[in-house]
Symmetry: C2
Subunit: 452 residues, 2 copies
Amino acid sequence: MTSKRQMHLGAVPYGTGGPGSHTLWLDPEIPGDASVDIAWYVEMARLAERGRFDLVFIVDSQFITPNSPPHYLNRLEPLTLLSALATQTEHIGLVGTATTSFNSPFNLARRLGSLDLISGGRAGWNVVTTGDAGTAGNYGLDDHYDYETRYGRASEFIELAQALWDSYEDDAFVRDRTSGAFLDRGKQHRLDHDGKYFKVRGPLNLVRSAQGHPVIFQAGDSEQGRDLGASLGEGIFTHAADIGAGQAFCDDLKTRARAKFGRRPDQLVIMPGIKVVVGDTDQEAREIEAYNNDRDHTFDAALGEFGRPFGWHDFRQYDLDAPFPADVLAYGERSFYTRARAITQQAVENRWTLRETVESTRQFHRGEFVGSAQTVAAKLIEWWEARACDGFNIGIDHPSNFRRVVDEVVPILQERGAFRADYDSTTLRGHLGLPIPANRHTERREAVDEAV
Amino acid sequence: MTSKRQMHLGAVPYGTGGPGSHTLWLDPEIPGDASVDIAWYVEMARLAERGRFDLVFIVDSQFITPNSPPHYLNRLEPLTLLSALATQTEHIGLVGTATTSFNSPFNLARRLGSLDLISGGRAGWNVVTTGDAGTAGNYGLDDHYDYETRYGRASEFIELAQALWDSYEDDAFVRDRTSGAFLDRGKQHRLDHDGKYFKVRGPLNLVRSAQGHPVIFQAGDSEQGRDLGASLGEGIFTHAADIGAGQAFCDDLKTRARAKFGRRPDQLVIMPGIKVVVGDTDQEAREIEAYNNDRDHTFDAALGEFGRPFGWHDFRQYDLDAPFPADVLAYGERSFYTRARAITQQAVENRWTLRETVESTRQFHRGEFVGSAQTVAAKLIEWWEARACDGFNIGIDHPSNFRRVVDEVVPILQERGAFRADYDSTTLRGHLGLPIPANRHTERREAVDEAV
Ligand SMILES: Cc1cc2nc3c(=O)[nH]c(=O)nc-3n(C[C@H](O)[C@H](O)[C@H](O)COP(=O)(O)O)c2cc1C
Ligand SMILES: Cc1cc2nc3c(=O)[nH]c(=O)nc-3n(C[C@H](O)[C@H](O)[C@H](O)COP(=O)(O)O)c2cc1C
């Protein structure tokens, strides 16, 4: 752990496409089935590792229709994917999205704990409550949970997983070949959790990893989502429109963490997802951006994905040039409601048509991190110094572009002292400057010992 | 696929211990934390691959107490483990145990489908209903399901997973870079399954692998278990006491498959789990066996594990020299009941004491596959030619011993034409001589086309 503030970088592989790059698969450098091609993921993860990135970040979705954009149709389950990457990389953190709405705590804690051991303490868990309401249909429910249940489950689930990860104290296994003693039985702890949403006996049949627990990331933007991040999150995945929005978000989250939950603000690492375009000159970068947007992010493509926060409501049915149909907000109630509401409010306030509203989402971040390597590096540092964030989750769209980030932008960040020149830790917690959580049972025992 | 009958070999890594080898971790060649050490698993899987084995097979358990034998205490989740092995091996099949009692079909189908893609069509699923009743407590239940529910869920679960794996026809993704067409929408199929135990909408957001579906293994011995294996199993994991028991089991399973379910008997590959000991001479091998048993499988160790089929009932409380306490069978009703009943019946019939009963389980397979490489190879071939099995799942206990299996026994099997000289397939189905299942939607379409 370094005491000097450092920028943190994550890489988000888009596969065959991603937000704002719907037809990436048209790039001849990208395999048409990149989203299920492990060799492609290995190549991208190693590229990010060469750039000393803190982590790769795998988003998730489990609901499709024939009309879903290409990058939703076909994708590997995140933790299975990351376990395959674990033995193909050495340093980079491996953060996978998994939902608390449609998993069992024991099962997921075990999978994350296994990934954490396999990777030598590099696992992270992006906790989501599942944004796509239709997913409920794949898990026996007619409808997604309401927000209270979604976030109630999420916080109980995380605390339960963390308790399961503490099933063994770090010195529980004595493995004395002379005496034949294997386990110090007093250092295995069951749980007998009986909560509002879950009942779990424990113990988990797994030791802790080199970093103690997987790192908890969180991505949800409502009041409940922000409270969850501020109370239990260690990393935050978000999207900020500009420096001001980023600052407001960071300030809100870190103030909550401190004031409401008594936590140290530097133990909450906020990393918005961004798109970067690097050119030889600013002018060339802008041209590449325009070219890519024309091809990868047409209005039609944007219109298709626009429905996502609204439960994949089909907006093709409306007159593009009529006022934004604000009633659609109802469709978002059990999906990405905070985002759906923000879009709707903005459209209503500005009296936008549907076309203008879609266009506004299409413009998101355009031009912000676009330019020569110097310009991009300066912009990243500007956000980071202004405390609009603690780092960035950079989308891997075109590999040629991401290579330039690694080979040209990162060295400037390093020269400027903002970013590590080399890994000085082997764990994700180490990279992020997060402490190893004490095992609750050891802590209790030590407290008792001190009191005696 | 070869038409000549071939022996099939699986390797079952024991980690820090296993059935009949409780204190493997005393072997200085085995890391004390082998059961969570990915490097150790990679080494063993590569060794088995060097021996041209069909597969590695990972068993599972999710219930522990401080009294559990060493090899239960600390272990990686099987599919997470296998995904890490997938990118470290090239040919060998990867079979993982996962329960239908405490998983959701959509989630597990997705994880298995992902492993199958990552490994290039080498995934297998050992379907269990969870033998350790106490596991229920980790999933919110006071008690494990009754047998009807366990096996009812299992068969519905498997068929559902297979239907999900057929969500896309093999030519669904056109990915035409000229026209920009990505998906042939008519070749994505949802499910709308609404069964007795599960309700799942689909489609699964994953294409099929090179082998179509992961291979279904099954391990359960009751009437219901055997029917499940005969109807949906493609591989069977079992334990046979001797050639006669093996023949009876194979005959029963294959007759059921043909007579009751109209299946081809050669599409059911039966592989009992065995322990092999190789020495320079038969005499030396017997000495090694005796030495290992004294150390690795003491009476006390056997007594500890003896309780497993009876729901980990603690037999230390009984007089070892009194008649076997047959009432204990009740403790096994929701665990490994078929095994518990067989042990109890045998003890009662023979009027054994508890000590004699435990001793009889301790003697299981002793001396059977023990000898010089020549002797062991001859014994394997004898079982296989007598149709007591189609192959073997060989436990990896001491690495020095397993190396001799690979380097000395396998070459004899190869010379005798019983076992492949080299891999002639890249998929697990290919190794096992199993066909690629047709996609049900393509099949239906073709049937309609033919009728027209
Ligand atoms: C930046 C961000 C990223 C998200 N990523 C995912 C994801 O990968 N998979 C998913 O199912 N949900 C994802 N979500 C959904 C959230 O978990 C949550 O269900 C949704 O945003 C609605 O909650 P909210 O109103 O608190 O934002 C994401 C949300 C945000 C804001
Ligand atoms: C050879 C064999 C291997 C098994 N392996 C496992 C295992 O790895 N994990 C598990 O939870 N259950 C395992 N089981 C348990 C079965 O799935 C089943 O729950 C149990 O045997 C009771 O059913 P039965 O009476 O039909 O045998 C195994 C059973 C057998 C016979």
